[in-house]
């Protein structure tokens, strides 16, 4: 019968019209600047470099705590090639105390970066993570979108704030590694001390076989 389907369709829009005043389901507008959707944990926008230190640390403290060792793996693996690293000549101790090279210059051109987080995936040192900051519009097309190392460096607390579970896992892994390295270092130190003590205590009459330290 002509017109029956049209009336059913009209009924549908009427239901939606009335519903929009009543049920939350039928009014989905989120008025952006005033209201905001709850931040989703896994969101990824642009990378940032993680440093272990206070949130408001100064330049030197940021650099000291920087985890990045300028191994340039992320620069090779980045599909659109938007990371640019210049290695430093001197070294600085990293979180375990071992002297490591650090990036003298670490630029990411976020006008080229497509936030695909492959750099995070391939980084063996948990040094680069994805930020959730997306309001980054600037007036300067080149300089404004080219983030240098200091602009990229953000503290571990910030990392904990935006990706809590992931940050917890990363910290656990780093802590466990640190413990392992310290245990090995302590064991090596004891072995060296024991050898030195044995050598100085009695003239080497007979060389005691050094007790085999259980493999760390």
């Amino acid at each position: 019968m002509l017109g029956e389907g049209i009336l059913k369709g009209l009924g549908e829009t009427a239901k939606n019209f009335a519903g929009s005043f009543v049920s939350k389901e039928r009014l989905t507008t989120v008025q952006y600047p005033e209201e905001r959707i709850a931040p989703i944990e896994n969101t990824r926008d642009f990378p940032f470099l993680v440093y272990d230190g206070a949130e408001d640390a100064d330049e030197a403290a940021k650099l000291a705590g920087l985890r990045c060792v300028a191994c340039q793996i992320c620069e090779k693996e980045c599909p659109p090639k938007c990371i640019y690293i210049v290695k430093s000549t001197d070294k600085k101790p990293d979180y375990v105390g071992k002297p490591q090279i650090y990036p003298a210059r670490f630029d990411i051109d976020i006008s080229v970066c497509m936030s695909c987080q492959i750099c995070v995936e391939v980084c063996p040192f948990e040094a680069i993570k994805m930020d959730t900051e997306f309001e980054l519009s600037t007036t300067d097309r080149f300089g404004g979108l080219l983030f240098d190392r200091d602009h990229l460096a953000r503290s571990n607390q910030h990392y904990h704030k935006i990706h809590p579970t992931e940050a917890a896992e990363v910290d656990a892994r780093l802590a466990e590694e640190k413990a392992k390295v310290e245990a090995k270092a302590k064991a090596a130190a004891e072995a060296a001390a024991a050898k030195a003590a044995a050598a100085s205590a009695a003239p080497p009459v007979v060389k005691p076989a050094p007790a085999k330290e259980p493999g760390a």
Binding site: T13, T43, E77, V122
Partner: protein, 385 residues
């Protein structure tokens, strides 16, 4: 190599129809509200009737395959999101499937389940958007499109929670998935999947019986089964002519064999059939999701021995394909043992479904050309690559 200067634009020569009166040359696109992106159709009109139609591509061509030849296997994965930017997860899955065939990798159970769940969610939001855009071209000022986008937003939020980005998920890896499911994600999916039948009923109530929709779409843009098979048409476009060919049932890839779902077929091959098939396929996807969500096994989501960096498959070639929402999406890879693929070819369902656009539009009314083109449901990122 001399760079070609832009010659002055030569207006196309005015053709003359058999009856001798001049044809009206209309170039619909590339800047046109209903061409789903940058795409041009040179249409020769004899009054209202279409006499000749030449599709013109290439406006969005960035030679994705050349880029892939210079990059590693992993680096191409985020680029596959940009092929059919409505269904990034199915694109990822097709590429991962082809590489797994090439290198003979195994995929753990849990990853297979996650792949099916994300693929079917992608299919639902793609079909909903396709119907919305088709109605938009028919003149229903955005109402069905807004209902479709309301559901699509929920599904995209799920993707953002899982993969980190709504449309550029970059989630599959060779041998599994990248990130473990966040806590409580499956429950959220169950809630949304339970709400989907209500949305599909609402769309059917609004549109299926609508006489104007019937008048505008039944008997328009008819496609014959043998021409469809010969022209390599795939997906809903093929099944609307009555050909029973769904790659989930033919190739038995992934774990689709464990789920009971049916494949709807059309009998007339016109726009109304394509609309109805997309609605019925959404209902089937909801069935699959319900069965898949019941028993997602625990376990690793990534084949432990597969390496992320320095992935070098042994020399050889492989062609893998899946039933993407738009049709058969295939990846043809030739490896020569180096970390970069020697040849990386994407079989775009959208481009090949357009082969018979002219056959469907000849003799039709110019108002229907836009509808026929909309019912094919293409995305220019995939057509032009």
């Amino acid at each position: 190599m001399s760079s070609p200067g832009f010659k002055t634009y030569r207006p196309p020569v005015m053709e003359v129809s058999e009856e001798g009166d001049e044809l009206l040359e209309v170039a619909m696109g590339p800047h046109h509200p209903s061409t789903h992106g940058v795409f041009r159709m040179d249409v020769a009109l004899d009054g209202e009737r279409v006499v000749k139609l030449k599709p013109v591509f290439g406006y969005l061509h960035r030679n994705h395959e050349k880029i892939a030849e210079k990059a590693s296997y992993l680096a191409s994965m985020p680029y596959t999101d940009r092929l059919d930017y409505f269904c990034s997860l199915t694109n990822n899955w097709a590429y991962a499937l082809a590489v797994e065939k090439l290198a003979g990798l195994e995929v753990p159970e849990r990853a297979e389940y996650i792949r099916v769940i994300t693929a079917e969610l992608t299919r639902i939001q793609n079909h909903a958007s396709a119907i919305g855009f088709l109605m938009q071209e028919m003149g229903a000022s955005g109402t069905p499109l807004m209902y479709a986008f309301r559901e699509r937003e929920k599904i995209l939020d799920l993707f953002e929670e899982l993969t980190g980005s709504r449309m550029m998920c970059n989630y599959m890896r060779f041998g599994g998935c990248r990130v473990e499911l966040p806590v409580g994600w499956l429950n959220k999916v169950r809630v949304i999947v339970d709400g989907l039948p209500r949305f599909i009923d609402e769309t059917e109530a609004l549109l299926t019986g609508n006489e104007i929709l019937m008048a505008r779409s039944q008997g328009v843009g008819i496609l014959k089964p043998d021409l469809a098979i010969n022209a390599g048409v795939s997906g809903v476009m093929l099944r609307c002519t009555g050909v029973n060919y769904d790659i989930r049932k033919v190739d038995h890839y992934g774990i689709y064999d464990r789920f009971k779902f049916r494949v709807p077929l059309g009998d007339h091959g016109d726009i109304y059939d394509r609309y109805m098939l997309r609605v019925l396929e959404m209902r089937e996807s909801v069935e699959i999701l319900k069965q898949a969500l019941k028993d997602v096994p625990a376990g690793p989501i990534m084949d432990p021995k597969s390496k992320i960096r320095g992935f070098r498959p042994k020399p050889g070639e492989a062609y893998g394909r899946i039933e993407a929402p738009k049709g058969e999406l295939g990846f043809y890879l030739i490896s020569d043992g180096s970390p970069n693929p020697y040849r990386y070819r994407v079989r775009p369902p959208s481009l090949i479904n357009l082969t018979i656009l002219e056959d469907m539009c000849l003799g039709q009314n110019v108002a229907d050309v836009v509808l026929i083109f909309g019912s094919v449901d293409i995305v220019l990122g995939e057509v032009d690559r």
